[in-house]
């Protein structure tokens, strides 16, 4: 993916954890599919399954947003990759925040979800803009590392490896297996019997 352009929804709460992004009742599955309904389920839906009208993604301006502008420490907590799978299935392609929990960050990169990093003041300015213009389109350009809304632009941070992974859309497992010779060299240099062998 090179660029995402779409409606950006404000989710300014800090410490939004993966339990909130994907509640545990949706984790009882052996596939990656069918997780869109689980995303923010406790915030989006009442217990009877009807929508909570106040929740940002249920409001007409922001329904179907493909970009989220979020608070600090987004994606903290559990390692569940289901959170990222669900966000992607719901149509979220990029998130703009100040920092993310490490496992969520890696999971996002593996699934083509772009996580852009801004300074807190820049993020707050962007939040103010999307709140002032509900439903405004925001573009996140991974190639140029630039966020654009109207005629306002701001450069975001993204490390080299993450940016490359998003642009390449590669399969890491198959890519690493091309390095089998290096892995074998490392293994053969280990002393004999040096690793734990599990007792079945």
């Amino acid at each position: 993916m090179e660029q995402v352009t779409g409606v950006a929804a404000p989710m300014p709460q800090h410490n939004v954890d993966t339990d909130i992004i994907m509640p545990k009742r949706f984790l009882r599955t052996i596939t990656r599919e069918g997780l869109a309904d689980g995303v923010f389920a406790d915030l989006r839906f009442k217990e009877d399954g009807s929508e909570k009208p106040d929740f940002v993604l249920n409001q007409p301006s922001w329904r179907g947003a493909s970009v989220l502008v979020v608070g600090d420490n987004f994606g903290c907590g559990s390692s569940r990759e289901h959170a990222v799978w669900g966000l992607r299935q719901l149509g979220v392609e990029a998130i703009i925040g100040t920092g993310y929990a490490g496992i969520f960050f890696d999971n996002a990169r593996k699934n083509g979800l772009a996580l852009a990093i801004l300074e807190a003041s820049q993020r707050d300015e962007l939040l103010a803009k999307i709140n002032a213009n509900p439903g405004a389109q925001v573009s996140v350009d991974v190639v140029a590392k630039m966020i654009t809304i109207g005629d306002w632009k701001v450069a975001f941070q993204m490390d080299k490896a993450t940016r490359q992974a998003l642009l390449d859309d590669r399969d890491d497992t198959l890519d690493t297996l091309k390095l089998l010779a290096e892995i074998q060299t490392y293994e053969s240099a280990l002393p004999d019997n040096s690793c734990v062998k599990i007792i079945k």
């Binding site: 903290c76 990759e81 496992i103 993450t162 497992t173 062998k197």
Partner: protein, 461 residues
């Protein structure tokens, strides 16, 4: 060049540099559970790949199983458990299922079986894999795509973290536990403050902790955002490994698994634990905590608009008022368990409080030993009877249970729980459920009082 403990662990496991700036690291050991691994095995299948080193993996059933029976309680749990066992059978991987005497919560079982040794690199599809840092090993949580990667290659693509050291000093008062120490650290440093860092815990307080306490500290470091937590290996570490089934081995046993004196950290934090009191969380993030003698914060203490809105939201969710006391808040449930606090040492501490006392009427109290072996040990010591006599439900089967409520232990809307677990997130223990994190001894005291109280009133009476 002087190196930190983290630097040394990475140096010894680095296979090669990758073109994009990451490094390829070797994974000495990998642990799986039934809910974050199924899609990894499917990935192997669809790509026609096999498991590279089957003896370097272990699967344990712990997240979805009931702790009341030794079989799957419902069809979906059965699907997840059967799927894990079938995948392990197919790929020749060891699996500790519900009837195995070694089954239990993965991060309790793995050190108990002697699998961890200083100098190892250990990955697992669970965020609390930071626990193994207590033994001088680099343990960290990974997602399911990375589980597939490590199964197929025995490696991970890895982005090097920055180094942070949290120095913990001060003479502890009587009755203060490892849980109070890490909760105090999280409160001071902040949830997410260690994102992008590997955190080494050091200082007199950490050195004096026993291994169970060190595991509690490293376990909850992930709530700071630390991808890895570490404590230097010492004589206690080596003694803790003696007599275990696996006698954990490391390829680099000549290394000294400590930070060099001259090593420089990207960030140093100093925490004073002198005179700290038992801690209790009041909100929906682990850093929203107070000491038992304190009042809850008030809105005016929150600086920015966003902090104020987060604060108000947390108070509303928890059904508490700004400025009120945390003492005497009535509870509905008491829960002792989880990879943070369900080891034999934790059960002993809670039983000490409960001996000769009764759980208050109206409080549902549950204790889940961290593993089948922990349960056997507790029964040998008569601890099970102390819990049972006090009115606790002593569960026959181990597992994560109501720490994350993926099984049949789910709290109801607005139920308030005194919990020895690690996360007080909104909805974590049940939709609308209100979690107060605290030490196992504090949970026991709350169970008896029917409300949040200072455990020291019980133990020092």
């Amino acid at each position: 060049m002087a190196r930190t403990l983290y630097d040394k662990l990475l140096d010894t496991h680095k296979i090669c540099d990758l073109p994009d700036g990451d490094i390829l690291v070797y994974v000495d050991f990998h642990i799986m559970n039934e809910y974050t691994s199924p899609q990894a095995f499917s990935g192997l299948g669809s790509k026609g790949l096999s498991v590279r080193q089957p003896e370097a993996h272990l699967a344990i059933v712990d997240h979805v199983n009931s702790t009341q029976i030794d079989e799957a309680p419902d069809p979906v749990s059965k699907l997840l458990i059967d799927n894990l066992e079938a995948n392990c059978e197919k790929h020749q991987i060891a699996c500790y299922g519900l009837k195995d005497p070694r089954q239990g919560i993965e991060h309790v079982v793995v050190p108990e079986q002697g699998i961890v040794a200083p100098g190892m690199l250990i990955a697992c599809g669970d965020s609390h894999t930071t626990t193994y840092g207590a033994l001088g090993a680099l343990g960290f949580g990974i997602g399911t795509s990375e589980v597939e990667h490590v199964l197929a290659t025995q490696t991970l693509r890895y982005q090097k973290l920055k180094n942070m050291r949290i120095n913990v000093a001060g003479q502890l008062s009587a009755g203060i536990t490892a849980k109070d120490i890490i909760m105090h650290v999280i409160r001071k440093v902040g949830a997410g403050a260690a994102n992008g860092y590997a955190v080494e815990f050091a200082g007199q307080v950490i050195e004096q902790l026993d291994m169970a306490g060190r595991m509690t500290v490293c376990n909850m470091a992930v709530e700071l955002g630390a991808r890895a937590a570490l404590i230097a290996a010492d004589q206690k570490t080596l003694s803790a490994m003696e007599g275990k089934a696996h006698s954990g081995r490391c390829a680099f046993d000549k290394e000294i698994w400590q930070t060099d004196i001259q090593a420089v950290f990207d960030r140093e934090v100093y925490i004073d634990c002198k005179d700290i009191e038992p801690l209790v969380t009041w909100g929906i993030s682990p850093d929203q905590a107070v000491a038992i003698g304190e009042k809850l914060p008030v809105l005016e203490q929150m600086v920015t608009d966003k902090q104020q809105s987060d604060f108000t939201r947390a108070m509303e969710y928890m059904g508490l008022a700004p400025g009120q006391s945390i003492v005497n808040v009535p509870i509905d449930m008491a829960f002792i368990g989880s990879c943070t606090n369900s080891r034999i040492d934790d059960l002993r501490a809670a039983a000490e409080v409960l001996r000769g006392k009764r759980v208050a009427s109206g409080v549902v109290a549950t204790v889940i030993p961290g593993s089948a072996s922990t349960k056997v040990q507790a029964e040998l010591e008569g601890i099970d009877q102390v819990f049972i006599d006090a009115g606790f439900d002593w569960r026959p089967q181990s597992g994560c249970s109501m720490c994350l409520a993926m099984n049949d232990d789910i709290a109801e809307n607005r139920e308030r729980i005194a919990s020895s677990t690690n996360r007080n997130f909104e909805g974590r223990q049940g939709r609308g459920a209100r979690t107060h994190l605290m030490s196992p001894a504090m949970v026991a005291a709350a169970a008896v009082a029917g409300k949040i109280v200072d455990v020291r009133l019980f133990t020092q009476a």
